[in-house]
């Protein structure tokens, strides 16, 4: 239940409403909650349940009040938690169907001979009329926007129909489902994910981006971890200040260790993405930057050019796994598939090679 008064400062800015999936859905709220939601100060017609912006709802309940006008019905709907007025406009189709229907008698006589569209249409209209015309005690499903008129909250129906529920199956399913929806969506506060994932992840992605930018900017062809270590220093320095304020002597990893750990993880990410690879696995860690490795580029281009001429690959071109094993034989055992795909992509962008399927390449 929403507290009656909400601090206007608590209202989330309207810019962000659309990011909440509940906003664009017909929320299946209890009528009690629909009646008690606070209306937005920024945009009248939008309401807040637990800070979720809501403007359209979906209810199922028993008709306990009814009034008919020329253009619309007013149904009071009771779901066992509250009663709300639903404004249900009659469609033009419906109004036509209400016109004197004696004329239809002649049509249906003729219809016995075969399919009579006019009579069928009339039947459809009668069906629709029936589903829109409810008596007290019948079950109504309404979807529509929430409005407040003359201090009374009501639902302006966009869809409404009578639900045939002779053994209460629909009502029971609804009663079982709605609490689940509340637990899974409406009662959970909506949070943008930005800061929820934790600090370490975001600093890792920051670290990889810093290294990537550096490699690109300086056109680095190869490097040792030591060369880029200092770039990540700012990420480490800024972190412990927050933690060390209240608990000073922690026997955790030193800043230097943290830095090395972060660098190791960042290089692993870059390696997995294929941005860098180690041509030779030796004592000295040297990383080659895939995109800048002219030798690798040439090797791959040569393989495709030569092998596409072979009868075996003439039709479809070379499969990516074939290229990979050839590159590993000729160039370096440590070229990863991710690195190969990165090079293939850039070769294709330059029209050096052509893909014939999502995993076959050839040259003309």
């Amino acid at each position: 239940m929403q507290a009656a008064a909400m601090d206007p400062a608590e209202e989330p800015p309207s810019m962000l409403w659309g990011l909440d999936p509940v906003f664009s859905a017909f929320a299946r709220l209890y009528i009690r909650d629909i009646l008690q939601m606070t209306e937005s100060i920024q945009v009248p017609g939008v309401y807040f349940y637990n800070l979720h912006p809501i403007y359209k709802v979906d209810v199922l309940g028993t008709v306990v009040y009814k009034r008919e006008r020329d253009d619309f019905f007013c149904y009071g709907v009771d779901d066992g938690t509250g009663v709300i007025n639903c404004l249900c406009w009659k469609s033009d189709l419906l109004k036509e169907a209400e016109d004197p229907s004696q004329a239809g008698g002649k049509h249906s006589d003729g219809a016995q001979a075969g399919f009579n569209p006019a009579a069928e249409l009339k039947k459809l209209r009668q069906m629709q009329q029936k589903s829109c015309h409810l008596e007290i005690g019948e079950l109504l499903r309404v979807r529509g926007s929430v409005k407040t008129s003359r201090q009374q909250r009501e639902i302006k129906a966009s869809t409404y129909y009578k639900v045939n529920d002779p053994v209460m199956a629909a009502q029971i399913v609804w009663m079982m489902e709605v609490p689940q929806l509340y637990r899974q969506c409406y009662d959970k506060p909506f949070q943008l994910k930005a800061d929820g994932a934790g600090n370490s992840v975001s600093s890792l992605s920051k670290a990889t981006n810093i290294i990537k930018d550096f490699l690109k900017e300086k056109c680095v062809t190869r490097f040792r971890p030591y060369d880029v270590q200092d770039l990540l220093q700012p990420l480490i320095c800024s972190q412990p200040q927050t933690a060390s304020a209240d608990q000073e002597p922690v026997a955790g990893p030193s800043a230097c260790q943290q830095l090395r750990q972060l660098l190791k993880e960042a290089l692993q990410v870059l390696h997995d993405e294929g941005v860098v690879y180690r041509r030779v696995k030796s004592q000295e860690e040297v990383y080659h930057v895939t995109a800048q490795d002219k030798d690798l580029l040439m090797a791959i281009k040569d393989i495709i050019r030569e092998d596409s001429k072979r009868e075996k690959f003439a039709e479809k071109g070379c499969h990516v796994l074939h290229i990979l094993s050839a590159v590993r034989q000729r160039h370096s055992l440590n070229v990863s598939r991710a690195a190969l795909e990165l090079v293939l992509k850039s070769l294709e962008c330059n029209s050096d090679i052509i893909s014939t399927s999502d995993s076959h390449y050839t040259v003309f």
Partner: protein
């Protein structure tokens, strides 16, 4: 325009227990065991904990209706107290729902109640912690 108040689900064995105040709106269910048209009075019955519980329904507002003795009915209305009878539901709606899965219906009512109880508890906690700060 006057809307009636919400008819909250109650089990038949709660109707006579004094849980609901006079004038309160309720909805409940039971098997129709007896109908006296001259008195506009119907009696619903339900089994609970090896006991039979009866709910007397005033049917004036929903007449004429087709009484099927032995069938399950659902009733919406206001609780009134009468001398000699006790609590009686003045029906606004009386629907035959014979064939309803009563066990499942009871489960759904319990589910809904426990949800509301859970939520009120949580709000109580929030209010308390807000007071404390």
């Amino acid at each position: 325009m006057m809307l009636p108040s919400a008819a909250v689900f109650h089990f038949p064995w709660e109707i006579n227990s004094g849980k609901v105040q006079e004038g309160g709106s309720v909805r409940t269910f039971g098997r129709l065991v007896c109908y006296e048209p001259e008195e506009s009075r119907a009696t619903l019955s339900a089994q609970h904990a090896a006991k039979e519980h009866r709910v007397v329904v005033h049917t004036l507002f929903v007449e004429p209706f087709n009484p099927i003795i032995g069938a399950q009915y659902i009733v919406l209305g206001e609780l009134e107290n009468y001398d000699g009878i006790g609590a009686m539901v003045r029906a606004r709606v009386l629907n035959c729902v014979d064939g309803v899965n009563v066990a499942l219906l009871q489960k759904a009512i319990v589910e809904q109640r426990s949800f509301f109880r859970e939520r009120e508890c949580k709000q109580g906690d929030v209010a308390q912690s807000a007071d404390a700060t």
